[in-house]
């Protein structure tokens, strides 16, 4: 083993344990299932590193060791012990441990107290459908808000090809497959923002199909849900009013819905409260008036092949007005 290889080995061991902050990291779990899996992962990494070092050491001994070591290693006993007995014991233990963790993050349906949210994968964004206490359904997109401490059952489907729903900080991934509904139950243990991303290659702009999950304390969540279920805010100010007019006249409503306005499209994301979301374009741009303006005119450059045509018909001040309006939809 060269010194360099040894360093790499060390890095392999230490880096994951150092704990990395990351909004999309398996190693910073904030959900029940993800935390159990992160613990399992650390057990695996440490165990794996020990075995790897062991194999390297035995190989070194078999080449450079003294006669005693080499005699001991040079028999079929080592093949039986190292190749059969040791792995059978270790793997059996791991299998049992793995099954126990599987049950926590399983795909079983959640109990009656769970919050139910439907998520539909579309090329290349996420349609999110909430059901409020009265059973009314309303849509959002590319951002899921959930209460902490309460099981949330996500009904995962797709509108087109296979996608995979993955929020590493909360749980493992689960595919969205045509003709099926898969259920994933997540429990966020602390308030916070997690980023998710499509994990099954779905063509074109797969790389830019992300979203945020915002876990909120239960009372804040309930208040938010009531607001979110309501119609869009009326535009305040001249720019926003002009933006609203442009939005409606520009044909945006053919694809997008803004509840409380004539815009009633169902093809693209529901924009009723788009200004209150952390991001636009499926977590590609941070929400801001500039981002809206850029997106409207240059979306094919930002996210090639997405279904929205680039709207270059608007003058700069019109784009600003549109952006002001969309930002005001909180």
């Amino acid at each position: 083993m060269s010194p360099v290889a040894r360093c790499i080995l060390l890095a392999c061991l230490v880096l994951p344990l150092a704990g990395c902050e990351g909004v999309q990291s398996v190693l910073s779990p904030e959900g029940l299932s993800a935390r159990r899996i992160a613990l399992l992962a650390h057990v695996l990494f440490i165990g794996g590193a020990v075995i790897l070092v062991g194999i390297v050491a035995l190989t070194a001994l078999s080449i450079y060791g003294g006669a005693g070591w080499r005699n001991r290693l040079a028999s079929e006993k080592i093949v039986i012990g190292g190749g059969i007995v040791f792995p059978v014991v270790v793997l059996t233990a791991l299998l049992v441990y793995g099954l126990a963790v599987t049950r926590v993050g399983g795909t079983d349906r959640a109990g009656p107290d769970a919050l139910r949210i439907a998520v539909v994968g579309e090329r290349w964004w996420w349609r999110v459908i909430y059901t409020d206490a009265d059973g009314r359904r309303f849509e959002s997109a590319n951002e899921i808000r959930i209460p902490t401490g309460r099981p949330v059952e996500l009904a995962l489907t797709t509108a087109d090809v296979i996608h995979s729903f993955w929020v590493p900080k909360l749980a493992g991934k689960l595919d969205m497959i045509p003709g099926r509904t898969n259920y994933q139950t997540v429990v966020a243990e602390v308030p916070g923002v997690s980023r998710g991303q499509c994990a099954e290659y779905c063509g074109g702009a797969h790389a830019l199909m992300s979203f945020f999950v915002v876990a909120m304390p239960p009372d804040e969540f309930e208040a938010w849900l009531v607001r979110e279920a309501g119609p869009a805010a009326a535009p305040g100010g001249a720019a926003a009013s002009q933006g609203r007019q442009l939005f409606l006249r520009g044909g945006c409503g053919a694809c997008h819905k803004v509840r409380g306005t004539p815009a009633n499209g169902a093809i693209g994301p529901d924009l009723t409260h788009v200004g209150g979301r952390l991001s636009i374009a499926a977590a590609t741009l941070e929400t801001s008036p500039q981002a809206f303006a850029r997106w409207i005119a240059e979306n094919q450059h930002i996210k090639p092949e997405n279904l929205m045509p680039p709207f270059r018909i608007f003058a700069d001040d019109e784009l600003d007005a549109l952006a002001t309006y969309l930002t005001s939809l909180r």
Binding site: G83, G98, G204
Partner: protein, 846 residues
């Protein structure tokens, strides 16, 4: 047991008559100049084969470098989305299908006959055909990246993304084309290798004395026979759905996208072991040589190899842990996925034990370095393999860069490093000059460090949340530094490969190098020439060159079997499958244009179909069949030469028919392939029924045709079998042309055609439309699968009739007839089973 009376008196000390070597050289001469492509000798086409595979490795590697440049920094626009998506698809497909599997097959073609001291593989033109089809098809596939025509669905091409609706254009069809060629060459290679390793071993090399590499190639080929048909069926279904809209994968019409995943991974996971096992066995060959001691735990390794072969078919679902399959079934596949680590562990410890037992110390040569590098990288890849076998852990890392790291550790560590060890170790077999050991050390360290710098950080990149197959990522995700490191590593790795290529060009001199430079114990290191070894030795142990120190000289002086060419043509010794006692001498075909043209027209047929130029495609298809017929016409030499003396006192026949013949064995292997294909179909039928029973006749589908239809089809099938059975008794007497078989053979073939036609018509008149539902599509597919066999039978039947008319077929010289009737019996069996399934199953469940 031993029916070779001369065995006890080997070697025969008398000097051989002069002129024999010159005659062998003339018979086995490699065609030169523009006729070089007609060559069939395994050491020549083996070099073409490895050269082509290695070229594809370089090309796919260059694409990897371009992708690494794209990913080096966040929000990069170097390649762009569409080109990147094409490139990772071509990279993966090329590495798996055009490099890894063919490279391993190439080593089989190259090394296996030499290790068995056979003069060639039993069907030399078949392997040459497969190689040319693969070279042409592979070149076209890879070049599509230059004209924006490459597929962009990822190397496993999941529908519905790859259906016409989401992948319009010909791009996806080019993927299916590329796969088609490797399917052809893999199956051809498997037949070659199974028959070769079981029937052309040298006398005395019992199964228990086979080199580990031969064992592995046998298991490898059997795995291909079981695994490849699943992907053949999958690609057929995908192409049929793309071209004709039969909804195998469309959920709205009773199909299921997961059917593709089941079929693909039923092939895809064994594929990993298909690649890895032979590479590991190369290590099992190199380690004993470098340690100058026999392999410790030979029997354990053989059992481990067989166990891996079995286990590998029980793991496919571990690629589907995140699809929402119920936890109970997942736990079964999780257990199987972990269990497969055990045979790998056995091999690792057997190598360590062998190294420890070394006479002196292990010689640290370049091959040894690559073996040690392999040991490290593969162990790490195996450990992460156990990790991803754990269902919950896989839920997190599946389709992330952790998995990208994992499978590169397994495949590059498990296959590429042993392959480079092989290049250095066996180079003297093809080149007069060896590769430089000094440069080799540089190549190794650059590759080893570069590889680890590139791929070790990817584990972490994946854990930080980076999914695979993304052409870019946003700044601020924290992935930039790790990706830059990976890119740097990739270029260091590439520098190592480039240095190797330079050294290869510098040192390669066509011919045989120094004799046994590593002091190895196996037969490929016997002195050899174009005809392989001068005589075929009788071996008494696993390492004949160590056990029988004088063997090389005895063989070279012609004191063992078949020191000459008694029939005046190419020939090799066929021995019994278990004990390897001499049975007969095969007369083998030599260089020819027929199989080269057949490959060319086959390639043209598929290519033209892909770009939907139908008429020229059909013309090429017909020409391909014509070339095959011309090629096969000369293969049955007949029994006229009578028994010949292959060693003093041992006379063997030069013609064999029936279950002892190599042709019969190859037909049986082909039937196994067809059987696996049909089983994959039966699985698909039953699987789609469990998913969407409402599309079956008890639901929305039209009622089955009345019983008369399947009964008529069954009667025709039985009639076909009866006609061929009768024909086998009524072949002409020796020297005659007339026999009732002349009428019975076409009658039997016509019955088969009729049976398929009746089955299709029956469903058609009942109103079943294949594009309406998955059920309809499956019903017609069953008939289609039998139909393609019937098509082959018709051509073979016409061939048989022509042979009889030409006076080349009688009750003794009957190889062509036997092969045809074997296929007929199989076809009848399959079609009857199909009738039972298609007409019986809906009643059982309805």
């Amino acid at each position: 047991m031993n029916d070779d009376p001369g065995a006890a008196r080997l070697p025969y000390p008398e000097p051989r008559p002069p002129g024999e070597v010159a005659e062998l050289e003339r018979i086995w001469a490699t065609p030169s100049g523009w006729r070089l492509p007609t060559a069939v000798n395994n050491t020549v086409i083996g070099v073409f084969y490895i050269g082509a595979a290695f070229t594809f490795f370089i090309l796919a590697g260059i694409m990897a470098l371009l992708m690494r440049v794209q990913l080096a920094v966040p929000e990069n626009t170097f390649l762009g989305q569409d080109l990147y998506n094409q490139m990772f698809t071509v990279h993966g497909t090329t590495m798996m299908f055009l490099f890894a599997v063919p490279a391993v097959e190439a080593l089989g073609v190259m090394l296996l006959p030499q290790m068995l001291a056979a003069r060639d593989l039993p069907f030399p033109r078949l392997s040459a055909f497969a190689i040319w089809a693969y070279v042409i098809g592979g070149t076209v596939f890879v070049s599509t990246i230059l004209y924006d025509l490459s597929p962009k669905g990822g190397w496993f091409m999941y529908p519905p993304l790859t259906l016409m609706e989401y992948s319009p254009g010909d791009n996806a069809d080019f993927w299916l084309l590329g796969i088609g060629f490797i399917e052809i060459s893999a199956i051809a290679g498997a037949i070659e290798i199974i028959v070769g390793s079981l029937r052309t071993r040298p006398p005395g090399m019992t199964l228990a004395r086979m080199p580990i590499f031969a064992w592995t190639m046998l298991i490898f080929a059997l795995m291909i026979v079981v695994a490849f048909p699943a992907v053949i069926l999958a690609t057929m279904l995908l192409e049929i759905e793309r071209a004709f809209g039969w909804p195998f994968f469309t959920a709205a019409k009773g199909g299921d996208p997961l059917l593709w995943q089941h079929l693909f991974w039923f092939f895809g996971h064994p594929e990993v072991y298909i690649i890895f096992l032979p590479a590991a066995s190369l290590v099992s060959m190199i380690v004993p040589t470098m340690a100058r001691t026999p392999l410790v735990g030979y029997r354990f390794i053989v059992v481990a190899l067989i166990a891996t072969g079995f286990f590998s078919f029980g793991l496919w679902v571990h690629h589907m842990f995140a699809t929402g399959i119920p936890a109970l079934s997942l736990s079964f596949f999780s257990a199987a996925s972990m269990a497969v680590a055990i045979p790998s562990g056995i091999q690792v410890f057997a190598w360590i034990a062998t190294i420890a037992k070394a006479r002196g110390r292990l010689r640290i040569t370049t091959p040894s370095l690559f073996v040690l590098g392999f040991l490290f990288i593969f162990t790490l890849g195996g450990l992460t393999g156990v990790m991803v076998a754990l269902v919950p852990f896989d839920w997190q890392v599946h389709d992330s860069y952790f998995v990208v790291a994992h499978f590169h550790y397994v495949l590059v560590g498990g296959m590429v490093f042993p392959l480079f060890a092989t290049f250095y170790y066996w180079f003297p077999m093809v080149s007069r000059r060896m590769l430089s050991e000094r440069v080799g050390r540089w190549v190794f360290w650059l590759m080893f460090l570069g590889f680890n710098i590139a791929f070790l950080p990817m584990h972490l990149t994946g854990l930080l949340g980076m999914p695979r197959r993304v052409w870019t990522y946003l700044d601020g995700m924290g992935w930039g530094g790790l990706n830059m490191l990976s890119t740097v590593g990739a270029f260091i790795l590439a520098a190592g490969v480039a240095l190797f290529v330079i050294d290869l060009i510098r040192c390669f001199r066509w011919g045989s190098g120094p004799e046994n430079p590593w002091d190895a114990g196996t037969l490929e290191w016997l002195p050899n020439d174009v005809y392989s070894t001068r005589s075929i030795p009788r071996v008494t142990g696993r390492e004949p060159l160590w056990d029988q120190p004088d063997l090389a000289r005895q063989v070279q002086d012609g004191h063992h079997y078949l020191p000459n060419a008694p029939t005046g043509g190419r020939e090799t010794l066929v021995t019994s499958p278990v004990e390897a006692e001499p049975q007969y001498v095969i007369q083998m075909p030599g260089p020819s244009w027929t199989h080269v043209l057949a490959a060319l027209f086959t390639a043209a047929f598929f290519l033209l179909l892909t770009v939907k130029v139908v008429v020229p495609a059909v013309i090429c298809g017909v020409l391909a069949v014509v070339c095959c017929v011309v090629w096969v016409w000369g293969l049955d030499p007949g029994p006229d030469r009578g028994p010949i003396e292959v060693a003093r006192g041992l006379k063997l026949p030069v013609y064999m028919t029936g279950p002892a013949s190599h042709a019969w064995w190859s037909m049986v292997v082909l039937m196994l392939v067809a059987g696996s294909l049909y089983l994959a179909f039966v699985f698909s039928y039953l699987y789609l029924w469990t998913v969407s029973p409402e599309f079956w006749p008890s639901g929305t589908a039209p009622a089955l045709p009345p019983h008369e239809w399947p009964l008529a089809a069954a009667a025709l099938l039985v009639g076909a079998a009866a006609a061929f059975f009768a024909a086998s008794r009524l072949l002409p007497a020796r020297g005659r042309r007339w026999g009732w078989s002349l009428l019975l053979v076409p009658t039997g073939a016509a019955c088969l055609v009729g049976a398929v036609a009746v089955e299709i018509l029956g469903h058609w008149q009942a109103g079943l439309d294949p594009s309406e539902s998955s059920y309809g599509a499956l019903v017609y597919l069953a008939a289609g699968l039998s139909g393609q066999l019937v098509f082959a039978v018709v051509i073979m039947a016409l061939f048989t009739v022509a042979r009889q008319v030409a006076g080349k077929l009688d009750h003794v010289r009957r190889s062509s007839f036997e092969n045809t009737s074997l296929l007929v019996y199989y076809t009848v069996g399959q079609a009857l089973f199909g009738l039972l399934l298609v007409h019986g199953f809906p009643h059982v469940v309805g």
